[in-house]
Amino acid sequence: MVDITFGPEPGKRPDLTNPTESYIHQTRRKRLYGFILLMLFVALMAAGFRTAEDRNAGDFLSGLHQLGDFPAEVLSEAWSNRANLPGLVWQYLPSLLETINIAATATLLGAIAGAILALGATRNLARFPLLTPLYRRTADLLRAIPEIVIALILIFILGGGPIPAVLAIALHTAGALAKLFSESAENADLKPVEGLASTGAAWSQQIWLGILPQVAPNWLSYALLRFEINVRASAILGFVGSGGIGYDLKLAMQWGGGKYDQVVAIFALLFLAIIVFDQLSAYARNRLVKGQ
C-alpha cells in the first residue's frame, strides 16, 4: 500500500530484478518508514507535552521567565544572611549523616537480601532449582514496588523516623540487586564449584569458596552504584515522608521567605554529598572492575 501511495507513479514501477534499482528502492522505503516513525514520535511528544501543560497550574512560556526568580530570591536572601551559613551547615550535618546512614544501611541490608535472592534465582547455582521461578518473581515484585509506597505505609505503622525509609529502600534495593547479582552469577565459571564438590564440600561451602570470590568485584560494584542511587532516594523519601535532610528541607521550604539561608545550606550539603559519593563510588568501581 505504502509504495503505491508514496512511491513512484504507476507505470514506472522499479524493476526489482535489477540489483541497483532494488537497493535504491529498498533504501527509499526504509527511509520512508523511518520518517513516518519519526513524525509519529514527534507528534506523540508534542501532544503529550500539550496535555501535560494543560493539566499544569502554570504554562511553559510564562514559567520560563520565572525560572530564575526563585533561585535568585533564595540566593539573594542567603547572601544577605551569609554570615549564618557556616553555622547552618554545621547544624544540618547530623541530618545529612542520617540521610547517608539510611542509604548505607538500606544498601547493606538490600545487598544481603539481594544476594540470597540471587543465589536462589540462578538456575545452575540454586540449592533448590525448582524454586528458582519463585525467587525470581519475588525479586520482580520487590523491584516494582516504589519506595514511597512502602515508606508511607511503614510510617503509619512504625511512626516517623529513619527506620521506615531504611526498610523501604532496602526492599527495593534487594529486588534490583537480585536481578543484577543473578545475571553476573549466571556467567560465573562452574569449575571451582565442581572441584569443591569433588572434595565433598557442602552447598554453602561451594558458594562461599567457589562462586563468591569470582562475583565479588561485580557484586560490590553494583552495590556501590545502588548506594549512589539510594543516597538520592533517601533524600527524596525524607522530603515526602520523614527522616534525614529531606525532612529538614521540607520544613525550611514550608516556612517560605525568611528561612532561605537554611534552604541554601541544605541544598549545598546535599549537592556536595551527592557529588562526593558519586566520585568516590565511580573511583572504587573502576578499581574493582578494571583491576588495580
Binding site: F49, F60, G63, N101, P146, E147, I148, F271
Partner: protein, 434 residues
C-alpha cells in the same frame, strides 16, 4: 619453593584470613552503631500494631457503618460511612432488621447488636450482654465483671472491639461497624441499577430491555463503572496515564536534548578540549543537583502539575544521558566513520551514517531502561509536584481511612511498573537483538 616466596604466600594467606573476619566484623559494628543511632530499641514503643491490624483488615475487607442519631432517632446504613455509599431506606441489607424503634444488627457468629429506645445492647457469645443506657447525660454500662480490655469505658463514650466488628456509643450517636470481605461497590455503586447483581443476572440484563431509553445497557453499564463515585475509575486511569506521560516526556525529552550535546562532550568529537570540559561539568551539575531539588525549583516557576514533573525528570536525565551517551560515543569504531568520510561526507552526514547506526542500539537500550525506572520515579515526583497516581496515593494514605483504596493504587502502580518492564524488555529484544 624458595623461602622468600614461602614467606610472601604465608603473608597473603594471613591477610586474607584477617579480612575474612574483619569485613563481617566491620559490618556488624556499623549495624550496631545504626541500631543505637536510629533507636531500634525505642521502635517497639513507637510501633502502632493496632494500626497494622486496621491496615491489613482494611486491605481485604470493607466496613459498613450502622449509625443511629440518638437525638432524632434516624438510622443510616452506609458503606465506609460515606454519603456516596448510603443505602436507600428500601435497600437495606438483610443483616439489619428494623421494627419500630428497635434495630437488630447481626454481626455473625452469634454477635447481636440491638438499638432500642432505652439505649443499646451487644450480645457477645461466651461473655454476655453489654448493656448501655444513657442516664442524666452520662452513660451507664451493665456488663459481666471484670470489664475486659476490649471494652473501652469513658464517661461520654463506650466502645467495644471484637473480631466481628466494632461498636461505639456516645451521647450523640451509636455506631456499629460490620466488617465484610472484599472491596464493596468496586464495580457499581448503590444507586446503579446493576448493583448487587450476579454475573448471570448482568448478562441477562445486557440482553434485556433498555433501562435508560437513551442508550444501550452496555453503554450504561460502562458509564456506571467508569464514573463510579466510590472508586473513581476514570480519575484513577487518568492519573496512571499522567504518571506514564511524565516518565515518557521526561525520558524521551532528555534523550533528544542529550544526544547532540553528547557529541560536544565526547573526546573524539568535541571541537575543543574546553568545550568538552564545559559540557561534562554541565552534565555533572544537572545530575548532582538531583531530581528532588529540580522538582522544587521547577514547581516554583511552573506551578504544580505533570509538566513540572516531566521537566524535572528531563533535567536530571539530561545529565545522566549526556554522560552515558558521550561515553558510548568515545567507544565507537572509527573505521566506519572513516569509510563515510572517504565518500566526501560532511560532519553531519558522518554523524548520521557513520556514528548513529553504531550507537543506536546501545542508546535505545539505555533510554528504555531509564523509561522503566522513571515510571517509578514519576510516582514519587508526582507526590511532590501534585500529579498522577503518586498524588492520589499520598492523599489516600494521609487521610488514613480508605486503606482499600491504598491497596488498589499500590496494586495498580506495581502492575504499571511491571508492564513497563515487560514492554521495555520486549522492545529491547525486538530491536536490539534483531
Amino acid at each position: 619453593m624458595t623461602d622468600a616466596t614461602y614467606v610472601s604466600v604465608q603473608r597473603r594467606f594471613q591477610t586474607r584470613r584477617l579480612t575474612a573476619f574483619a569485613i563481617p566484623a566491620l559490618i556488624l559494628l556499623y549495624l550496631t552503631y545504626i541500631c543505637i543511632s536510629f533507636d531500634i530499641a525505642g521502635l517497639a514503643a513507637r510501633a502502632r500494631l493496632d494500626n497494622a491490624a486496621i491496615l491489613t483488615a482494611d486491605f481485604v475487607s470493607y466496613k459498613t457503618h450502622v449509625t443511629r442519631d440518638n437525638r432524632s432517632g434516624d438510622l443510616t446504613i452506609a458503606i465506609e460511612g460515606e454519603s456516596k455509599g448510603t443505602y436507600a431506606p428500601g435497600q437495606r441489607p438483610d443483616w439489619v432488621q428494623t421494627s419500630g424503634d428497635i434495630t437488630r444488627i447481626d454481626l455473625g457468629k452469634g454477635h447481636l447488636v440491638t438499638y432500642d429506645s432505652t439505649g443499646a445492647r451487644y450480645v457477645v457469645p461466651g461473655y454476655g450482654t453489654i448493656d448501655i443506657q444513657p442516664e442524666d447525660g452520662k452513660l451507664k454500662l451493665t456488663a459481666p465483671q471484670p470489664t475486659p480490655d476490649w471494652i473501652n469505658v469513658g464517661d461520654t463514650r463506650i466502645s467495644v472491639t471484637t473480631p466481628q466488628g466494632r461498636f461505639a456509643y456516645s451521647r450523640s450517636k451509636v455506631e456499629t461497624f460490620k466488617y465484610q470481605p472484599g472491596w464493596e461497590l468496586f464495580f457499581f455503586t448503590l444507586d446503579s441499577p446493576f448493583y448487587g447483581k450476579t454475573y448471570g443476572q448482568l448478562t441477562a440484563m445486557l440482553m434485556g430491555d433498555r433501562i435508560d431509553p437513551a442508550r444501550s445497557n452496555l453503554a450504561l453499564m460502562a458509564s456506571d463503572f467508569w464514573h463510579n463515585k466510590m472508586w473513581h475509575h476514570a480519575d484513577v486511569a487518568w492519573a496512571l496515564f499522567e504518571t506514564l506521560l511524565m516518565a515518557f516526556l521526561g525520558t524521551m525529552g532528555a534523550a533528544l536534548v542529550a544526544l547532540p550535546l553528547a557529541f560536544l562532550a565526547a573526546a573524539n568529537f568535541a571541537p575543543f578540549r574546553a568545550v568538552r570540559f564545559a559540557f561534562r561539568r554541565v552534565f555533572d551539575f544537572l545530575r548532582g543537583v538531583d531530581g528532588l531539588i529540580w522538582t522544587i525549583v521547577l514547581a516554583r516557576a511552573f506551578g504544580p502539575g505533570p509538566m513540572t514533573g516531566a521537566l524535572a525528570i528531563l533535567l536530571t536525565d539530561t545529565g545522566t544521558f549526556g554522560k552515558t551517551f558521550s561515553e558510548t560515543l568515545e567507544n565507537i569504531d572509527e573505521k566506519q566513520v572513516e569509510g563515510v568520510r572517504s565518500t566526501g561526507a560532511g560532519a553531519l552526514q558522518r554523524a548520521r551514517f557513520g556514528v548513529i547506526p553504531q550507537i543506536a542500539p546501545v542508546l535505545l537500550s539505555q533510554v528504555l531502561y531509564y523509561l522503566e525506572s522513571n515510571t517509578r520515579s514519576a510516582t514519587v515526583i508526582g507526590a511532590i509536584v501534585g500529579g498522577g497516581i503518586g498524588l492520589l496515593l499520598t492523599q489516600a494514605i494521609i487521610t488514613q481511612k480508605d486503606w482499600e483504596e491504598v491497596a488498589y493504587y499500590m496494586l495498580l502502580i506495581v502492575l504499571m511498573v511491571m508492564a513497563m518492564d515487560t514492554l521495555s524488555g520486549w522492545i529491547r529484544r525486538k530491536f536490539i537483538k534483531g
